[in-house]
Amino acid sequence: MKSNLGALEKDSSRANAGAEFEGRILRLVKGGPERQAIEAGQVDAVMDPATGSALLLPAARQALRKDQARVRSLLALSSDWCWEQDELHRFVSHTGAASGSSGIYAESIIGATLRDPPFDGMSESDWETHRRLLEWRGTFRDLELKCTDRAGEMRWVSVSGEPIFDEQDRFKGYRGTMRDITLRKRSEVLAQVPRKNAAEGKGGERLPGVERKLVKGELLENGLLAALPRKDYRGLLAGLKPVTLTYGQVLYEPGEPIRHVYFPNDCLVSLLTTVEGHQALEVGLVGREGMVGISLALGMDVASVRALVQGTGTAMRMNAARFRKEFRKSLPLQGEVHRFIHAKLAQARQTAACNRFHRVEARLARWLLMTRDCLRSDQFLLTQAFLADMLGVRRVGVSTAARALQQRELISYTRGKIRILDRKGLEAASCGCYEVIRAATLVPPVFAALLLWPHPARAAPVPVRFAEGVTHGFLLLRSAADNALIASGDLLQVARGTEVECRMVFRFPDGSVWDEIVVFTQERVFTMQSYHLVQTGPVFPEDTEISLERASGKYRVKTKAHKDGREAVLEGALKLPPDTYNGIVLTVAKNLLKGANETVHVVAFTPAPRLIRLELIPAGEHKVLVGAHAQPAIHYVLKPRLGPWLKFFAKLLGRTPPDYHAWIVTDRVPAFVRFEGPLYTAGPAWRIELTSPRWPD
């Protein structure tokens, strides 16, 4: 052994490791085979229980460093930037070969999320989808976003990222790469609208009205259609026909039947109300965020307003009959259209009030901002005559107002070309109506998302800190009221590959049996896979067999009454969140950080299944005696959280579920010591404790 140590010391010193490091390695590795392997140069790392981490030996460290350098250089070839985000998805670092040289992206990216400037162009529903993925700690690839570079030019980037976790498997944020894909996007856009570009290029003449300056990298797509789930969108696609709408074209006149609906891509349609003897007044503006022909969705097939194309561009057209059919069929389409109608109503209401009460200058600012939102462009072409129509004022009023905004350097306005210079400033100059209208456009999707994704689906599974392995525990079941022994049992746990099967059995003196089998996986997070419970015998009000599968959500509850032997079977499927932890709540509790709260889900069988939230709340420390030695145990209260309706019914029925209690010893390696609570619905509180085998006297 002595000579072995010498050899090791010599090896390590050759590898330039300090004497302290060697000593540490020697202290850690006491086993013969391990030391031999180190001497033979076959070991990369040594585990250090004190720090809970792995110590790399010098040779391995050097090799990994080289490896990382290679990966870095390959990465530089395939992407433009590497970035890292904190837990709240804010950028904390953003580095890359291109960041200095090409002048893209201001330093302002640090501290911003993908939703904030300089990023742009993520619709509310896109963001919702992305945020949900982030909450689930998913990896995302090739998320394409618009963004403004330092020179104020629009660019496209493709972002990919993966979550990062620390040694305790706590979520630390995201890291990933970003590529500049502006050139590709630009060519895609050009390929998409050949007709429009050809027309512009050939004639070279400027069309009157609002004309959009095609911004480099802009994707021409209707936002309402884009917000639909892929499946629904595909269903619509066959009935959609791309058309070019030109300035001055009247799509509908009031009282005329609606033959088509239009989903603008990059054109702008104005909805006008005509009053006899006066010029038409704009009551709504539809751009890429919506559709023209909402009356159809409301069950009317005649138009109520004049729909006038104010900005030439493309749109997707669908005939009225087809739209009615698709609208009835597709729930997401109904949702999106309703949201849009709501926004338009708010816009009409607000516009009416605004035109009556607010100054022309503020109204002009509002109108420019609304147009900007519709077109998603800071520049457009329009004439004073047109603006006067839109705002319902005389032409002189418009030019005075425009001059005032220009003097405040909020816009530039030369020969019909308007450019918004300071969006924030323009918002301040506009009347409050703009905010109201915009809020009406933005808020409902979030609300809808909340309805569609109720709380359970947001639940995050609990990370694995201590993987479960083979265990055989001896258990006692006592009455919590008088501590009388009720049953004895076993906890039998085996790990097979990545799966763990955990079985808890209690045998009662009268032959009753309570037998629970849970299969779960522990890859980074705990995931319950299946749950099976059998309770038979006179101890229980009725014999019950329950099975539940997490992935499919399928459940089966079979009950048999003791009195008449009548059987009942309940079958069905529930939507189960990833943190449904039937049967392994205690395992999960062992993996919580000291003092941490956690909310998980369990399916309670009453006998009908109910998905309930279960809150694990640390409620102080107790001392337990192991031999003569006292050890601290954390007391967790497991509180079932019922929704308001369930709560109401539970109260009505007098069946509010009681709290459960669990005690976990957490000195370095956690261990379960006690559980208290009913084992079946409306049952008495029982206590599960550990015991050691005794020798019969």
């Binding site: 590795v29 033979a40 140069g41 990369d44 792995a54 790399l56 090799a63 498997d169 800190r465």
Partner: protein
Amino acid sequence: MRGKKTKRSASSPAVTTVVVMRLYIANNAPNSLRAIANLEAICKEHLKGNFKLEIIDVLETPLRALADGILVTPSLAKMSPSPAAKIVGNLSDKSSVLHALGISVE
């Protein structure tokens, strides 16, 4: 020599039980990579499809290795069939790996 062994193992009775193993490694460190390659070769030759292998990176999940009683990496642990066995190093000594896995090659 190698050819002879292969021939013999092919003629030996087929392995019917599934061998469940865990290999603990340190990312892409040289011995870890060698251990994976060595083990893959052994599994291909002697276990055919009758094995389950989980590779655990101790740099990513050190607590998992500590909980499993691992001291150095690379380490190979046979979980089942019993008896459980453990072997450390880059698994270049084929005969000791086979021995630890309970595969008899005459």
